[in-house]
Symmetry: C2
Subunit: 217 residues, 2 copies
DNA sequence: ACCTGAACACCGTTCAAGT
DNA sequence: ACCTGAACACCGTTCAAGT
């Protein structure tokens, strides 16, 4: 039984198994993963020399692979941005616990380069200045990451201890609860970002190189 | 020596010790913390019954205590928002490794309620609709959390593998590197959010209850 | 190459025992 | 109340040994 005729393990099965445990328990251990896969821990190490950290990286790549920036290839950037953002959110809401394990380290995977390439190309075509494109992408993604983390957070609860909390209490009363809370925050944020980026783009267009055809100056 | 005449330990010293280890190593263990404090592990547990999780929560409270929303008490919201955001960033850049340990769980501390109260009151005074205030606060904070996580991330490196990466490469070449990268992304994002929130506010003012005094309607 | 079985250092937590 | 010392179950990782 030391070398079975049919492969018991490969990196894909290990990744999926770890993701199953994360979805079930919110975390995973190497012995737990091996048990889940019906093998010994040392067998897992044979396929994943980097150990637990590498398993987490593999899960990270698998989850973020569903992030899709291709909307920038065929839509105006104002429409593509929320599509990109929603695919980001969807990738992590499909594995609500995973974000807490994955968000703390940036993804360093070729498949994400394709996403950034589409977004950068779209923004460049729209006329965003070269030296701000990475900043725009990063700002949007920072908002997405924070939003994904926030999706798993419980509602804020405030006991009206101090008198100064009246406004906060009124706002909390008027705000949606449960699942709608995080969704509204995402919608409000992405709309604000798009509006703000549009202003930035208009300013640059007025002051700079690429004059609007209808411009008399 | 079982009960020293002078206290060796208290919750504050434990919190500070843990933060020192996090700043030094990026993480901490309970035995390591005890060693750092010159006591036995079980002594730490006497002061912190909740164990490691509670220590992390104590560190979280201590770090986030430096977040300050009081700018909303005496400044227009457009100026107060970046001040709040920068205090948030500063709290975590003072402990760069801490964010990775702390961001994955929301803070549930009375001192943060005061921050939210100031922000909510300021936004309400400015005329933001009650049912959107929590969403605005959450959206901003999500951006801050993502930005704080991003501060510790290394620069994106792209090897020009595919031809489709030309735009991305141009953007990366034109973007600032090192410390300026995350800072520019934060500035761009916060400016965009303010602009977008202002549009939202104007729309609401035009369509709704609070007419502008100079309005003839 | 692929898997087993046993081992090692270390971690989080507990608890009886001291003052 | 506050701290010690020893213990327990468990984790991440390694390595010689089998086919």
């Amino acid at each position: 039984m030391a070398r079975p005729r049919t492969r018991l393990l490969d990196r894909d099965r290990i990744t999926i198994g770890a993701l199953e445990l994360i979805d079930r328990d919110g975390d995973f251990t190497m012995p737990g993963l091996a048990r889940h896969l019906g093998v010994q821990v040392s067998s897992v190490y044979h396929h994943v020399p980097g150990g637990r950290n590498e398993v987490i990286e593999m899960v990270r790549v698998r989850v973020t692979n569903r992030v899709d920036g291709s909307a920038f290839d065929h839509l105006p950037w104002e429409e593509a941005l929320p599509v990109w953002g929603r695919s980001f959110l969807a990738a992590f809401t499909a594995h609500p616990f995973a974000i807490r394990l994955l968000a703390t380290e940036p993804v360093r995977d070729p498949s994400l380069i394709a996403v950034y390439s589409s977004v950068a190309a779209g923004l460049r075509r729209a006329g965003f200045p070269d030296d701000q494109i990475i900043a725009v992408i990063t700002a949007a993604e920072n908002f997405f990451v924070g939003s994904a983390l926030n999706m798993t957070a419980p509602d804020i609860m405030v006991t009206p201890s101090s008198d100064g909390d009246a406004d906060l209490l009124a706002a909390l009363r008027a705000a949606p609860h449960g699942a709608g809370r995080a969704k509204l925050a995402f919608d409000v944020g992405i709309r604000a970002l798009i509006g703000g980026f549009r202003d930035m783009l208009d300013e640059h267009r007025l002051s700079d190189h690429k004059p609007d055809p209808s411009d008399t100056g």
